[in-house]
């Protein structure tokens, strides 16, 4: 374990794990309390369309993912507010259409798509230094926006109707949250890939939710757990020569299951409410 710490790629991966967990913990807490995990899944899968477009036209696929995830976040935000289509149908459509577009674009792209598997299932051990700077910038942006709009986000995620009466721009704040979710999703694609994003985004915060009744504390717990899960996943990946993305997700899921059992037992003993 000590030997691999000397490798630059591993040091990068550790830094990436911390940077990802910060965004993931903050935004994941909102995703869990506002129950928009499925929307996040739709956003991440539609990002694959942008990745395919990057392959087709020869630009950085992550840029394509960024544009597609932001566009799908805005589309679902506006459409679900207008009411027309059923929201779950809309999410499912976006989810599958994004994947279909991605596959189509990749098949049309000349030659062979080298890291396609990486975008689908992630690989935190292959993150270039330039991406770390981008992640740092996104972290600072997310922290800044959440700090400035903390009360607005709290009001809108807690009670939209009352927030409207208080003349808070509910639609704009909801779209802001979805866009922050889209940015976080793009960061996570590097680590766990479009297919597994939804789990890393929600599981640390969901565990935090089981052990705290304060939003800020849930964020804190989720950040720490995110770091632990990514580090443990990387270590397991190195030790057993298995994919890092899958290891991170399986460790997160196992901890979530253990936490749920623990909370239920405690509930049985003390009669305290299950959240």
């Amino acid at each position: 374990m000590i030997d691999i710490l000397q490798f630059a790629f591993f040091q990068h991966a550790l830094v990436a794990g911390v940077l990802i967990s910060v965004a993931c913990g903050i935004i994941g807490a909102y995703v869990v309390v506002k129950k928009i995990a499925l929307i996040s899944g739709g956003i991440s899968h539609s990002a694959f369309g942008g990745i395919g477009l990057g392959y087709l036209f020869g630009f950085d696929p992550i840029l394509g993912a960024l544009v597609f995830s932001l566009a799908s976040a805005l589309a679902i935000g506006v459409a679900s507010r207008k009411g027309g289509e059923h929201e779950d149908t809309l999410i499912a459509t976006m989810w599958a259409t994004g994947m279909a577009l991605g596959i189509l674009f990749v098949s049309l792209a000349p030659g062979y798509a080298p890291d396609l598997f990486t975008y689908l299932f992630g690989n935190i051990l292959f993150i270039p230094e330039s991406d770390l700077l981008l992640m740092l910038a996104l972290d600072l942006l997310i922290i800044g926006v959440v700090y400035l709009f903390y009360n607005e986000l709290l009001a809108v995620t807690f009670d939209e109707e009352f927030a409207s009466i208080m003349n808070i721009p509910v639609q704009r704040i909801s779209l802001l949250l979805l866009c922050l979710t889209a940015l976080t999703v793009v960061m996570l694609i590097r680590a766990v890939g479009v297919i597994l994003v939804i789990a890393l985004l929600t599981l640390p915060a969901a565990i935090g939710r089981q052990h705290s009744t304060r939003l800020l504390r849930i964020m804190g717990i989720a950040i720490v757990l995110g770091i632990l899960f990514t580090f443990a996943g990387m270590w397991l990946s190195y030790l057993l020569s298995v994919p890092s993305g899958a290891s991170i997700i399986l460790i997160s899921a196992a901890c979530y299951a253990a936490s749920t059992l623990y909370v239920r037992r405690k509930h049985h003993r003390t009669g305290s409410p299950i959240r």
Binding site: N151, E152, L154, D159, F162, I165, M166, T213
Partner: protein
Amino acid sequence: MTDPIIHLEDVWFSFNGTPALEGVSLDIYERDFLGIIGPNGGGKTTLLKLILGLLAPDRGMIRIMGEPPERHRTDIGYVPQYRTFDFGYPISVIEVVLMGRLGHIHSPFRKYSLEDRKIAEECLAMMDIADIADRQVDQLSGGQQQKVILARALATEPRVLLLDEPTNQVDVRTEVHFFEILRQLHEDMAIVLVTHDIGAVSVYVDRIACLNRRLFVHDSGEITEDVLAETYQCPVELIAHGVPHRVLKEHDREESP
């Protein structure tokens, strides 16, 4: 007489073609204590949402202090009937009550001042729940939760308090206590109480209005059988023993949903 705080003139509203309100006109003045009664599906909640600008009328005019609802609705304290939020949300009592201040903060990023915090704490004290300020809302009893919602409405420092079936979820003892609180609040603000609890209305209100798509305003708090029959459009019995009183009606036609 002074200008009304809330003014509705010939307001019509329908849900997907089903009429909910027809030609409703209403003025609410400073120091009013108006009770609005009517059957379920009669449009009571819809009327309050129109006043708050959460719904837009098909036609007619709604004004708060002479202007469209959006401008002055932050001066109205609203106590909704159904919990429009999830009580499992990780939020403390004081954080909920502070939200009543958001409408009065005009800086681009709404941060609470010491003054806001003081007002929120006063509202908790007024509702006698200062001791649970830091508790999470899902750890409270139904009566305590209702007091939190009322405290949030009061934190807006309202000129009018709109209450939609405020005692639906609480026991009789809490209900009596709740109406006593309203009686005290009435010294400082107008109150509009939407309810189907006719007993409570007749004891506390100054004026009564009956709503069943159309609104009939009566300038006294007394409820006669004629008034009820007119509203419910069917024979009504006033049950006169025990509290709370309930109106039992015979259905002579399908109620609209």
